[in-house]
């Protein structure tokens, strides 16, 4: 039976679930084995058509983990599912785990202790991407490459105070949340240990080459929304260097997707439009050392060269995100 804690837990973990029954058990087990004991887990079943709900219930009965299951009857998407999970959270700090991933058993005690000791608004750790082919480790401290919310722990009062939430939409929900958190924070801490294990699914829906074109255009829509959100929250003048990094990074990463040269041009020109519209070019000196910014700046007016760069980048065969 799930344990009901007398006082508010140190950490609340929100786990949105959709079509991941084969991985859910491993995910929940890794949370039950945390060395930090004052922890609550909020599982949000996002109208998952598989047996995830029964599985989660069964796990809750067997384990000592303080666990709450929110069973949604209509599918609301990852962003909204996390928002709903957040609204149930009682912990001093707040974390997110995706239901096909798992975490190291030291993760939350280390992050929580460091956060409390330094009175940090949020703390992040490194992460590993694993797949059938093997494991790769990452430890980014630059926010434009450290945009996942899963390898982080946020002070709940901080999130609440600045009304940071996940915007509904299909892309960038993590990025927007992380950027908001970055821009409002006074104290941030990075720990290098790769505590979070991120499942890299080479055959997942996201990776089908035919879907790249529609993702490219969807990305234009989402990135436009992102910029508008930045402007509305009045973060923009100070966030301009970050936004510039982000826009350039996304433009550059599109070189590695399976879209036509023409679609790519459209994306680059759209990026130019956003840079012009939000007057981001003024901040270019602050981030000119950034690889993506300098590359974008160098190639944006030599569009024919994109074709060549794309060939080369295609061979390098990087992961897109």
């Amino acid at each position: 039976m799930s344990v009901i804690l007398n006082r508010s837990p140190s950490v609340s973990i929100v786990v949105p679930v959709f079509n991941t029954e084969q991985y859910l058990w491993q995910c929940l087990e890794s949370l039950a084995e945390q060395s930090l004991t004052s922890i609550e887990v909020i599982v949000v079943i996002d109208a998952s058509p598989d047996n995830a709900y029964q599985l989660a219930k069964q796990f809750a009965e067997q384990s000592n983990l303080a666990m709450r299951i929110v069973n949604l009857t209509t599918n609301v998407g990852l962003a909204q599912a996390r928002n709903i999970g957040m609204s149930h959270a009682k912990g001093q700090y707040l974390g997110f785990v995706d239901s096909d991933d798992y975490v190291d058993n030291q993760m939350y005690s280390h992050l929580f202790n460091q956060a409390v000791a330094n009175n940090a608004d949020w703390v992040s750790c490194g992460f590993s991407k694993f797949s059938a082919q093997g494991v790769e480790q990452y430890a980014h401290s630059n926010i434009s490459e450290n945009t996942s919310v899963c390898n982080k722990l946020f002070r709940r009062s901080f999130i609440h105070q600045h009304q940071i939430c996940f915007p509904a939409g299909e892309l960038f929900e993590d990025e927007i949340f992380s950027y908001m958190a970055e821009l409002y924070a006074q104290t941030i801490l990075h720990i290098e240990n790769p505590y979070y294990f991120y499942r890299h699914n080479a055959n997942g829906i996201c990776r089908k080459p035919g879907a790249d074109k529609s993702r490219l255009y969807a990305r234009m829509c989402s990135i436009g929304d992102f910029m508008q959100r930045m402007e509305q929250s009045e973060l923009l003048p100070s966030a301009a260097p970050l936004c510039l990094e982000m826009l350039c990074r996304h433009a550059y990463l599109q070189l590695r997707t399976q879209v036509s040269w023409f679609d790519l041009l459209c994306y680059w020109r759209f990026t130019q439009h956003l840079i012009e519209k939000y007057q981001l070019a003024q901040s270019i000196d602050l981030v000119k050392d950034n690889y993506f910014v300098s590359s974008f700046n160098k190639w944006q007016h030599r569009e024919w060269a994109l074709w060549l760069i794309r060939l080369r980048a295609g061979r390098a065969n990087y992961a897109v995100e």
């Binding site: 509904a168 939409g169 529609s214 255009y217 969807a218 234009m220 829509c221 436009g224 929304d225 508008q228 402007e231 509305q232 023409f262 679609d263 041009l265 459209c266 020109r269 759209f270 439009h273 012009e276 519209k277």
Partner: protein, 334 residues
């Protein structure tokens, strides 16, 4: 409570503001309030508005913004303090007929409508003459103005209809959303609003063609996402498809490169596919705009050729107009 709140956002229009406000002062409907929003206009607009507030304190009031927020936000800000049963919008370089709001309001009451529309005409002042043209408002995609309409205030509030901030063509999504969310629409079949065509207007400058086109992408993406959120797509897929087709075809007239033009078509295509408008709209092949769009959408060379064709036709028309004008002037001189 006022019958109607008229919202006038003002930015750099000192030449025209007085004639606009004068036409509002002359309104035959008595119980109206005019809210003038001075959007940090650097010219003498605030002083002109101040005069009207002084002379007609029971009708005119102004909100002065210290920071320029753009026409959309200026209207949103005024809407928050509006108290009328209905809300109308007038642009500060236009003017309206004296009976406009009386006719519109009584039609609104008669038919208990949430949105009432009237006809509009454009005017262009030449040296000594004024040229008027009635603006098409028959089709949804033509009638994208908010200035020829009255909106019930509680209706806008309950449906949370606001102007999108900082994006071009802010009227269009507002006008569509307001009409899609209700069945209580009414019309006054008279020309009551006069819309100034300015040769140096922002939308017509060639330098802005490309910027506007990309900004339009932002607007359309937000608009369709908003429609989806409101669950309005199924009922209005046909109008939305016409709207997108119309935007794609109007891009043919922009002074932009072929890549930007074809790119815009591809972006519109993305929206049509993403929201499954062709499936949801059913058979639209009878519609002129939609059928033209469907014919050209898939082929970049045809889109580019078509754009040369429409521009050539436009140039020819302009040439003929100039000859007519020269003949008229010559006759006048005799």
């Amino acid at each position: 409570m006022f019958n109607v709140s008229i919202i006038v956002p003002v930015y750099k229009s000192e030449q025209y503001l007085a004639s606009c406000l004068k036409s509002l002062a002359k309104q035959t409907l008595e119980n109206v309030e005019v809210i003038i929003v001075i959007d940090a206009s650097p010219d003498s607009c605030a002083a002109i508005a101040g005069e009207y507030c002084l002379n007609y304190p029971e009708r005119f009031r102004k909100i002065v913004l210290e920071k320029n927020v753009g026409v959309s936000m200026a209207r949103n800000i005024a809407m928050q303090s509006a108290q009328g049963e209905y809300i109308g919008f007038v642009d500060s370089d236009d003017y309206v007929e004296a009976n406009m709001f009386e006719l519109m309001f009584s039609e609104a009451l008669n038919s208990n409508a949430d949105v009432v529309s009237c006809q509009m005409r454009s005017f262009e002042t030449h040296d000594s003459s004024v040229e008027y043209h009635n603006l098409p408002t028959k089709e949804y995609y033509d009638d994208t103005f908010v200035t020829n309409k009255l909106f019930r205030r509680v209706y806008l509030l309950s449906k949370q209809i606001n102007f999108y901030s900082n994006v071009i063509f802010e009227d269009e999504p507002f006008a569509y959303t307001a009409r899609f969310a209700t069945d209580n629409l009414a019309e006054v079949n008279q020309v009551l609003y006069n819309y100034r065509m300015s040769p140096e207007g922002l939308c017509r400058g060639d330098n802005h063609g490309r910027f506007n086109l990309y900004d339009k992408q932002l607007m359309l993406a937000r608009f369709l996402a908003d429609m989806e959120r409101r669950g309005a797509i199924d009922a209005h897929a046909e109008e939305l498809l016409q709207c997108l087709a119309n935007h794609a075809l109007s891009a043919l007239y922009y002074h932009i490169s072929a890549i930007d033009l074809v790119g815009f078509f591809s972006f519109v295509d993305h929206l049509v596919i993403k929201y499954q408008l062709l499936v949801r709209a059913g058979d639209c092949s009878q519609d002129y705009k939609v059928s033209r769009y469907l014919k050209f959408r898939g082929s970049a060379p045809r889109i580019i050729l078509l754009s040369y064709f429409v521009k050539a036709r436009q140039a020819k028309q302009k040439f003929l107009d100039n000859i007519d004008l020269a003949n008229l002037t010559a006759q006048g001189a005799k």
